[in-house]
């Protein structure tokens, strides 16, 4: 279970970061009538956060979580 536990911790932290980034007051910083790369900054910011968040979840889910301490698995010898 330690690997799952690690994964869970990472997901919770990512969730908190996402919830913070997509709410007041951080959101208010981008609430202005302005375009960047011809996209309104507020939309640009939200969609960027969105993409990064999905990327984060995908990485955590698909990469094997490294255990807390690197463990050496005993090598199994194939029976002759």
């Amino acid at each position: 279970m330690p690997e799952t536990k690690r994964k869970n911790e990472r997901l919770v932290v990512l969730f908190l970061i996402g919830a913070l980034a997509l709410n007041y007051p951080l959101l208010a910083l981008f609430s202005k009538v302005k375009v960047l790369f011809s996209i309104p900054v507020l939309f640009l910011y939200i969609f960027l956060c969105w993409v990064l968040f999905i990327l984060g979840v995908a990485l955590i889910m698909e990469l094997p979580a490294s255990p807390l301490y690197p463990m050496q698995l005993p090598k199994r010898r194939n029976p002759e």
Partner: protein, 926 residues
């Protein structure tokens, strides 16, 4: 403008394709090659979340509230990150207990109570009704737009007679599909593979259709997003959509809707159905938790461009923004594209309605109708598997017709988003009982009932009533004066709270009431045995898997159990499942008259639970199983005992660790004692030997003197001299032994005063000067010119100095021997060093030489002169005076003995004396 028959033909063809897909998937499932058993289909089926509301309403919302359409998709995105442990746990629980709906899940968690299942079902049906009507409204509106769009002319609203109403036929068509693919089997846990496949296909269609119109608008109608957006920026009406000010309710509303959609993605009955009940493999959650947000992102990319384009093309108010998706291509005469968009919207609406009605009909049947039916005598002994199917099909039709009714009565007066959010807020009422219920064992049945009812009541008052009022169905004055004229209960300003917009306001109050009552009542509630078992099984689902097999202890025959199951699932299905049970479990005895064992009863209960819900299944099983209904107390004991055993073993481990440590200490102490014992033995033999040597010589010389009176005077004198010396040596030895004994027992007398250490050393040198002369050892003095005062006992210090000096002499070579006495002050302490150039002390022995009775051996072959007590006495004295004594030496290079004592000022003598008197009183009880 399209011909009505064209639209209808295309729609029917499309629905035909859906039927074909569903039929094919069901056939595949029957042959065991599942079409839907992969995370991609699972993800697409979850996208049933995106309904007609998303398809048409998002653009409408973006056109009025700017970013306001986004939190409905950001919430699920955030929630998806938590699926890996929240959703997986729910899936595991539902699979273990064969739970088939959200009502079943909640009822099962709180003691399999039919009442809770009923409450949840009522909330779900009432809460979701607006949502279903929203789908009907979307389809009929889009049909009308497609059919009668005239450039930029306003839409003719207002419903004709119901037989001429598209929405009614849409509703009936959806009912037909739901019945065909949702109620094929009686066992609701058997997945509706065909339905899921069709839903996944619909999700693809709606994404493609929406993206198609988005790409067309952005890249064909305008040159690209940059042109579209820069055009919009020139219009003050449009540029205001780019910031937060456009969102009514501001950040609080944003947060509330994010929260609502987080809950909705898991606890809307259809989402629960797709996520949990239709889940094939819980590992699919892993991919879905990032693929699904990706889908949401994709379907939202073109919302803003379409909204801006619509606003630019149609002057203010001429076209309902909710229909922009269709109106824009139609205005450009892109009929094919418009038709494709219509199909996308149809997909979104039908997908939602089908899954929702299937989920709701299961709940209505199992948790509302059956508990009542089972109380009626006539039904108790009949085979009602047919009846079940009829009930389910009937409730599908009823639910869709109710949705249609809501649409006719109320739907016209609201935008899509408002209707949808009302349903979201209702679904959020399930979140506390589930989320708290699966992590907190203490959440009780009464708490759940109180929380659900309170939340539902607040929701009704703050959202449902106003929606009735706005549509003119009840008096609209209720908004100003409150229900029954109670102003405190005004729906949009409950208890005078005016800070929020209606949705945020309702979310705040309903969640406060819901969680407050759930937790508050639970804290003061006593749970009965069943509820406690269920709570434990839910919370610790990953620990006790299938643990309820030992629940039943009563008596029932195998035949009775089989009959019971057959009555609900049909004889052929029952026979098949019992056959597979016999094959897999290899039960002890399956003859009809044999006693059914606990495993078989549990299996039957799970099978029944799949068909009629956990609560009813429990009722039915207990009607057949007689005797001591079940050993619930025993189960509780087992569960409790298990946890107690774990706790005991933890404590035992701790104890044994402590014991191990204690044993190690004892072993060390024992070793030391043994060593001391050995030393004592040695000492006694040494002392007796030492005592005997002088005694022997005294006696020998005395005898010579006695027996030979004729000895000459000189010789006589000589012999007497030896006798006296030997007596002195004897006395010294005895004194030392007594001295040490006194110091050790704490009865020695100490004076404490400021002593000049230099004088002490000079005294000792004087005393030992003869010794140095006799042994021809040179003495070097390196003493400071002024006096150095230390606190101590003068006589004892002299004793130490003499001891160390005579020790040094003893180990010096006669003639070449050289002893240096050094004294100085370092870091507030006086230091005395006595260095010799003797053979040195082996490092192994350096720590031992201060121990009692230890004598250096092996340096000289002859016996060392001395009792082995000198250094021990020195150490005891110095330590008693609060100083330190140590040796530094290397073999062959002599030894250096050092003594360090704290300095003192001669004037403080009196003070110091007083200060030490306490300690002395303690050390030397008089």
């Amino acid at each position: 403008m399209l011909q009505q028959w064209v639209i209808l033909l295309i729609s029917f063809c499309y629905l035909g394709v859906l039927f074909a897909i569903a039929y094919y998937a069901d056939k595949r499932a029957d042959t065991g090659r599942s079409l839907i058993s992969n995370p991609y289909i699972y993800t697409l089926s979850i996208a049933v979340y995106c309904t007609a509301w998303t398809f048409y309403g998002s653009v409408g919302r973006a056109a009025t509230a700017g970013v306001g359409f986004l939190p409905i998709y950001l919430g699920p995105t955030l929630m998806a990150a938590l699926w890996w442990f929240v959703l997986r746990k729910i899936i595991r629980i539902a699979k273990t207990h064969r739970l088939t709906s959200i009502a079943d899940f909640i009822a099962s968690r709180y003691g399999k109570d039919p009442l809770i299942g009923g409450i949840v079902t009522v909330i779900a049906v009432v809460g979701i009704m607006p949502y279903i009507s929203l789908q009907l409204k979307a389809v009929s509106t889009s049909f009308n737009v497609l059919h009668s769009f005239q450039g930029a002319s306003p839409l003719a609203h207002g419903a004709g007679p119901f037989w001429n109403d598209t929405a009614l036929y849409v509703a009936l068509l959806m009912a037909a599909f739901s019945i065909l693919f949702g109620t094929r089997h009686i066992d609701a846990t058997e997945r509706h593979e065909g339905m899921v496949a069709a839903i996944a296909f619909e999700s693809m269609v709606k994404l493609l259709a929406f993206s198609a119109v988005g790409i067309y608008v952005t890249y064909s109608l305008f040159i690209g997003p940059s042109e579209l957006i820069s055009d919009a920026m020139y219009e003050p009406n449009l540029s205001r959509l780019m910031e937060f000010g456009a969102l009514p309710g501001g950040y609080a509303n944003w947060f509330a809707i994010t929260f609502l959609s987080m809950m909705a993605i898991m606890f809307l009955p259809r989402q629960f159905h797709i996520l949990v009940v239709e889940n094939v493999n819980e590992s699919h959650v892993r991919k879905a938790s990032w693929l699904f947000p990706l889908y949401l992102l994709a379907i939202n990319l073109f919302v803003l461009p379409i909204a801006l384009a619509g606003l630019l093309m149609f002057p203010e108010g001429s076209v309902d923004p909710d229909t922009f998706v269709l109106a824009v291509p139609l205005a450009e005469n892109q009929r094919g594209l418009a038709l494709f968009v219509f199909l996308g919207g149809l997909s979104a609406a039908t997908g939602m309605a089908i899954v929702e009605t299937i989920a709701l009909s299961t709940m209505v049947c199992n948790d509302l109708v059956l508990p009542v039916l089972l109380r009626i005598k006539a039904f108790q002994k009949r085979n009602i598997s047919r009846v079940l199917l009829v009930i389910r099909r009937g409730s599908i039709v009823a639910i869709l017709l109710l949705g249609y009714l809501y649409f006719r009565l109320i739907g016209e007066s609201h935008t899509l988003v408002t209707i949808g959010l009302v349903s979201f807020a209702a679904a959020a009422q399930f979140a506390p009982v589930i989320l708290i219920g699966i992590y907190w064992r203490g959440a009780s049945r009464n708490g759940a009932i109180a929380g659900l009812l309170a939340g539902f009541a607040v929701w009704t008052c703050t959202l449902l009533l106003p929606s009735f009022a706005i549509s003119g169905w009840i008096r609209s004055s209720i908004l100003q004066t409150g229900p029954f004229g109670i102003e405190l209960l005004r729906p949009y300003q409950l208890f005078g709270l005016t800070a929020f917009d209606p949705i945020t306001h309702s979310v705040f109050w309903s969640m406060l009431a819901n969680v407050g009552f759930l937790v508050g009542v639970s804290l003061f509630d006593r749970q009965d045995a069943v509820a406690r078992i269920q709570a434990t099984l839910f919370v610790d689902v990953f620990r006790h898997e299938g643990a309820d097999t030992f629940l039943w202890h009563g008596n029932a025959t195998v035949a009775e159990i089989k009959d019971l199951v057959a009555r609900f699932v049909g004889p052929s299905e029952a026979a098949r499942s019992f056959a597979s049970y016999e094959e897999e479990e290899e039960p002890f005895d399956m003859r009809p008259n044999a006693q059914a064992d606990a495993n078989l009863i549990a299996f039957a209960e799970r099978k029944l639970s799949g068909a009629i819900g956990a609560a009813s299944a429990r009722v039915m099983i207990s009607s057949v199983v007689k005797g001591e209904a079940l050993s619930i107390e025993g189960v509780i004991k087992i569960l409790d005992e298990a946890s107690q055993v774990i706790e005991y073993s933890h404590r035992l481990e701790e104890k044994s660790r402590e014991l191990e440590a204690a044993t190690a200490e004892l072993r060390a102490a024992n070793l030391r004692l043994k060593e001391l014992d050995r030393l004592k033995d040695e000492f006694i033999s040494t002392v007796t030997h030492e005592l005997r040597t002088p005694l022997t010589s005294i006696r020998a010389f005395s005898e010579i003197l006695r027996d030979n009176p004729g000895l000459d005077l000189e010789e006589r004198q000589n012999f007497l001299e030896i006798t006296v010396k030997e007596s002195e040596r004897l006395t010294r030895l005895i004194n030392q032994v007594l001295d040490l004994a006194k110091i050790e027992s704490g009865t020695a007398e100490w004076t404490r005063e400021c002593v000049d250490l230099k004088l002490v050393i000079l005294d000792a040198l004087t005393t030992t000067s003869r010794l140095f002369l006799e042994n021809s050892v040179t003495i070097d003095k390196e003493l400071p010119t002024e006096s150095v005062f230390v606190m101590g006992d003068r006589d004892r210090l002299v004793q130490v100095a003499i001891n160390l000096l005579s020790n040094a002499v003893k180990f010096c070579e006669s003639g070449s021997g050289r002893v240096t006495v050094r004294m100085d002050c370092q870091q507030g302490e006086a230091r005395m060093e006595i260095v010799d150039n003797g053979p040195g002390i082996h490092p192994d022995e350096q720590t031992q030489i201060f121990e009692k009775f230890h004598q250096l051996k092996g340096l000289y072959n002859e016996k060392p002169g001395g009792s082995g007590l000198g250094l021990t006495i020195c150490k005891r004295i110095i330590e008693h005076l609060g100083g330190r004594i140590w040796v530094e030496s290397r073999p062959g290079e002599g030894a250096k003995f050092s003594v360090a004592l704290a300095l003192c000022k001669p004037g403080k003598e009196a003070q110091q004396k007083r200060k030490h008197s306490n300690i002395e009183a303690y050390i030397e009880p008089a």
